[in-house]
Assembly symmetry: C2
Homo-oligomer: 330 residues x 2
DNA sequence: TATAAATATGTAAGCGTTTACACTCCATTA
DNA sequence: TAATGGAGTGTAAACGCTTACATATTTATA
């Protein structure tokens, strides 16, 4: 069943059928109705490959997402997929599986699928190789990064001021008198480093140097909660103590909270990403919300703007917001 | 840059180039190397639309997933995507956004994309309309349902014996002397109803009738934890009590646990899906693991078998396993 | 060496769309 | 009445690949 079949059944030419298919105004109402009726009757579905070959696009967007099973990423992908569908695009998924993995082959994969644009969720390693991969991809189709930063030409970014968020949180804690603030983190992606930098800046501003920092890198690869729990125990066993804790992800906060609780240590704990995990804990953990849904909306807007030749800002930075729960009230 | 360009640069015909592209054995080593070299030099990427038009497939699988932001679904999609890519297929995502939503338009969407097969994550409403949609789709391409059941012809299912899991859990609780076992649930999908049925059967076996059941339907649409917390409070306020609780999802278990804890009620609580949520809680919640990754592996195997004309079982049922944590030990 | 068989290559048609361009009507307008 | 213009339609080429079939080349066999 192709356009020729429909054309002959409707007694018109393929051009007319194609025009009906594409809502061209250059068809008479009569022809339009007739063709439409036949198409409905026959259950005709245009061949997307032929259309793609002819138009060189099937209106699809590639989503590049490290570890889609990460709850934050899943939320992002979910939101993006809906927005794109609403705008007539479909979504081809490429999930790398780890944060550090080289993205270039996934970019190539998506480009080979002839996507109209690429949307990348989350920040990556930020190294030169990654930048080059993105720049190469961006030479072919628009590339937008959600909640991450890739400093490459023609790569658009929508991100959250995580550095600022941590910085003002540190300031707030210091103001309240907490002097030894610990910071537990995992990834050293752009986002990870920004947060870390916010922490350090905050301490530095108060005259607290490198030796006053309590930084702990948690290996969250397999089970973040267990890892954080164990590593927190280890650090406490060394006799180190701290009067407040900021965690780069809620999962880390949860694990640390468990360890602290076991020793009946009650200090302010603030997590990151405002996930359900923070709410599951007891006491519920306050968390910095990076507004992932807003970022997705912005990113999709950037993408559509670029695709449609409208001007779009290369970098959009929104601010985070602290969701206060039991573990810390401003 | 197309196959003709490559052909002329390599001094061969398009047929030869195409053969190299498709690893045909009918090319001399010499031609093969030459063509390959030129393709590499030129950075040639075959046009997937043209290939699709010619072969009537681009080796893509549609994933139909209600609410991909659900942590369990995200895990499934993540796993499936990797498995499929390993097998040379890419993944087109269609996420419905809610469990009840009519899936037929999403199926049509995927079919219009000319996917080679459809993989549906999770159970749906199970109603006649849904069945009809799936049957229609299954008439065109193989359809496999992961962790759900659609009783339609030619629809393959890989699922977990959730009814049996709840049933034996109830038996176990009764054996331990817990007489008034509550069951909190949310969705009434196939899976939801199976679990409910397991609960009822378990009680019935012990001679406990409908009036001994403590069933509560939680509205988890917006925030499952809050909903469960509030509704648990409400039911407790009415004076109703129970000596053990089974929840159809970890999120429900978490909310209920919070409410019970506030009243210093300590009873066995068992959740479902063995998500991180269960581990975040305190005490950590035991949970029935529905082995979603195994199911995905099985489902993808079914799919590949069917696609390659090998025989595949229409229904695969695996058993669940109870992950014991602090909230309940066997 | 002649011939058959196997291997390698090329030609051209076909996949199902879109769309530039050409054409036919028919209603205006001079 | 003839010329003009606009609306509707059709023809045919183009998109870039695969592959059946035909042909050329090499190798094996008698």
């Amino acid at each position: 069943m192709n356009i020729y079949d429909i054309a002959s059944k409707a007694g018109v030419s393929v051009a007319t059928v194609s025009r009906v298919l594409n809502n061209s105004p250059r068809v008479s109402q009569k022809s339009k109705e007739k063709v439409q009726r036949i198409m409905d009757e026959e259950g005709y579905v245009p061949n997307i490959f032929a259309r793609g070959l002819s138009l060189n696009s099937v209106k699809s967007i590639g989503i590049l997402c490290p570890v889609i099973s990460d709850i934050n990423h899943a939320a992002a992908v979910s939101h993006i997929e809906r927005l794109l569908r609403t705008n007539g695009f479909d979504t081809i998924l490429a999930s790398t599986g780890s944060y550090e993995e080289d993205k270039s082959k996934y970019l190539d994969f998506l480009l080979a699928k002839r996507v109209d644009a690429i949307l990348c969720v989350g920040s990556g390693s930020g190294d030169a190789k990654e930048r080059a991969s993105f720049e190469r991809a961006a030479g072919q189709v628009p590339v937008v990064v959600v909640n991450g930063m890739v400093k490459a030409k023609n790569v658009y970014c929508a991100l959250c001021d995580e550095e600022g968020a941590v910085l003002s949180l540190v300031e707030e804690l210091l103001r309240k008198g907490y002097r030894s603030i610990a910071y537990f983190y995992d990834t050293e992606t752009y986002s990870g480093l920004q947060k870390l930098s916010g922490y350090r800046k905050g301490l530095a501003q108060a005259g607290l140097g490198a030796d006053q920092r309590i930084e702990l890198k948690i290996d969250t690869e397999t089970n973040g909660i267990d890892a954080s729990f164990n590593q927190t125990n280890t650090i406490l066993d060394t006799g180190k103590s701290f009067s407040a804790l900021i965690a780069a992800d809620d999962i880390i906060a949860v694990g640390a909270q468990k360890a602290l609780k076991k020793r009946a240590i009650s200090i302010p704990i603030i997590g990151f990403n405002n996930s359900r995990f923070a709410q599951c804990a007891d006491p519920e953990i306050s968390s910095i919300d990076t507004m992932i849904e807003s970022l997705c909306t912005i990113a999709v807007q950037q993408l559509l703007d670029v695709l449609q030749g409208r001007p779009a800002p290369e970098r959009v930075l929104i601010s985070a917001s602290l969701v206060q729960r039991e573990s810390f009230i401003l």
